[in-house]
Amino acid sequence: MESKLHGHAHKYGKNVDTDVIIPGKYCNIIDPVELGKHALEGLDPQYTARMKPGDIVVADTNFGCGSSREVAPIALKGSGTAAVVAKSFARIFYRNALNIGLPIFESAAAVDGIESGDEIEIEAAAGIIRNVTKGTNFRAAEFPPFMQSLIAAGGLVPYVERRLAERSPA
């Protein structure tokens, strides 16, 4: 995870589901950049036109509910979205985002304290979310220890490689 993220906020409501993050008809696309052209299309068709790489999606509760499609966080990442800050995440999206390296942060206070267009700075490792426009700071919920070790290992792929190495009688 990059240590410092910096961009403008695009704020949405509750239950942003995977069907609007990346509609089903695009799910046969594999290339992240191509997928990224359709990120959030079902909710906000102007998102990709308005956003700049580095921008941050801010949303209410249950972000990413619905299907298990990993192309949902991949599309967001592919669009250049640097992170998602939400009050809570749906279970599969949470796993997928961490697995593919899309930074996500859980903080109800931050979501309430950010408006669309605000300039945001995030210190990823420390989980500190700064609203530069309003001059306020928030702290994201800590990842559980196991998730921290996964993130520290660099995601699930290195973790699997380590497990495999442990098993083979080298």
Partner: protein
């Protein structure tokens, strides 16, 4: 302290005597599933894992091409080919291409790949369907599936369980779908996030396997990690007909700890409808019909309601009748086997005669992939499980979710209709129909 059904299965697969909610475990998997959407990325990720040339056990992997088949375009065809080539290279025998399988969640139980007490992960959120058979089953994304392909194990956080206790006998034209829609309405789409839903009570004991499938399938619509039923004689008979594999039937301990217990009496339940644009926006049919809602499309199928029992209900309502003018009715039997059974029973020709388009088994219109996508301003009533904006195509379309009976009744009038107000005959494959098939065959032979 005792354990819930989910905790028991997870503990055994983690090689532990006891697990508790919140605990992170490494659990062995009995089956790993992927469809085109998840397999394409999972295979790519697996190729990036150093030291991972082979899957952990080719007999414990199932690949199903169901979302974009028959291939809707060149890109989809390439993904199906990627799966086929991967299956060949890894000697995975459970690869189901179009014409051999159907919707993953319909196919796997049919093929005897799901049994009580097993732990199944799939690259599809409706993997939770297999909870109908007393298995722990949950959906994951492609990277997790790639890891499971290679390791044969997954890391999981043990979920707390919610106990749902159903009582009462559903009235006429009230089905498992209505019971489940009500449940989603009560809990909300994040009401069971990170939780297991454990279904209990006399109502679900009485349900046929297909009814339990419908209910387990929609556990994810409450955000749940899994939904699970206790296996009983019906479950065991179903599974035994399809596999000789040993399995262990687990039971929740009498002193298991549940986070919440919710009692639902279905005795007075009306048919239910989930209105746009979330599956928890559920209302009784009597309220919905007041709005006199015309529909452009009726869709019958999916892993929720694409089973033979569902098609029999629809055929019982549509036989000898014609669907409303200016309406499309699209039927996707859930699997090749369901399709053949429906053909043998005369259901497919009955539905076609009524004006329905009968598709080859697959997901098709359910997720707006192809074969029945909705246009701007259109309204559909569907037996599927999700009605989010854009789910079936245009973000300017409206989707109502209901039982096969409610959808069939609506097909007759072209409006969302209470199935209790239409004539319904018990579907019986007639002697005459079987005879006419015989005649056709002998005519061909004598030519």
């Amino acid at each position: 302290m005792g354990m819930t059904l989910t905790e028991k299965i997870l503990a055994r697969h983690a090689g532990l005597d006891h697990v508790e909610p919140g605990q992170i475990i490494n659990a062995k998997v009995d089956l790993v599933l992927a469809n085109e959407l998840s397999a394409a990325v999972a295979i790519k990720v697996m190729r990036q894992i150093r030291g991972a040339d082979r899957v952990f056990d080719a007999s414990k992997i199932a690949l199903v091409a169901d979302h974009f088949v028959p291939a809707k375009d060149a890109q989809s065809a390439s993904i199906a080919k990627l799966m086929k080539d991967f299956a060949g290279e890894q000697e995975i025998e459970h690869f189901f291409d179009v014409g051999r399988g159907g919707i993953e969640h319909v196919v796997l139980p049919e093929e005897g790949l799901v049994a009580p007490g097993e732990l199944i992960v799939g690259g599809d959120s409706h993997t939770c369907t297999y909870g109908a058979f007393g298995a722990f089953a949950t959906g994951m994304g492609s990277t997790d599936i790639a890891a499971a392909f290679v390791l044969g194990e997954v890391w999981l956080k043990v979920p707390a369980s919610i106990k749902l206790v159903y009582s009462g006998t559903p009235g006429t034209m009230v089905y498992a779908k209505d019971v489940m829609l009500r449940t989603v309405g009560e809990l909300g789409i994040d009401g069971a996030t990170y939780r297991a839903m454990e279904y209990h009570g006399s109502t679900v004991d009485e349900l046929p396997i297909t009814g339990r499938i419908t209910m387990a399938n929609m556990a994810i619509e409450c955000g749940a990690k899994n939904g699970i039923f206790h296996a009983d004689e019906k479950t065991i008979a179903y599974v035994r007909e399809r596999t000789n594999r040993d399995f262990i039937v687990e039971k929740a301990d009498p002193d298991a700890a549940y986070e919440r217990t919710i009692a639902i009496d279905v005795g007075q339940l009306e048919p239910q409808v989930a209105c746009p644009h979330t599956p928890d926006n559920v209302h009784p049919i009597s309220e919905v019909v007041r709005d006199d809602l015309r529909v452009d499309q009726v869709f019958i199928g999916s892993c929720t309601n694409g089973y033979i029992d569902d098609l029999r209900v629809v055929a019982g309502i549509l036989q000898g009748k014609t669907i409303a003018p200016n309406l499309r009715v699209i039927v996707n039997p859930g699997s090749q086997k369901v399709w053949m059974q429906a053909a043998d029973e005369g259901i497919l020709s009955t539905l076609a005669a009524a004006g329905c388009a009968v598709n080859t088994p697959g997901c098709g219109a359910c997720f707006g992939g192809h074969m029945g996508t909705l246009g701007d301003g259109e309204r559909a009533i569907s037996t599927t499980n999700r009605n989010y904006v854009g789910r079936m195509g245009s973000p300017k379309a409206e989707i109502y979710l209901a039982s096969p009976a409610t959808c069939a009744a609506s097909a007759l009038s072209g409006k969302i209709t209470d199935p209790r107000t239409v004539e319904h005959l018990e579907w019986t494959p007639t002697r005459e129909r079987a005879g006419s098939r015989g005649t056709t065959v002998s005519l061909i032979e004598s030519n």
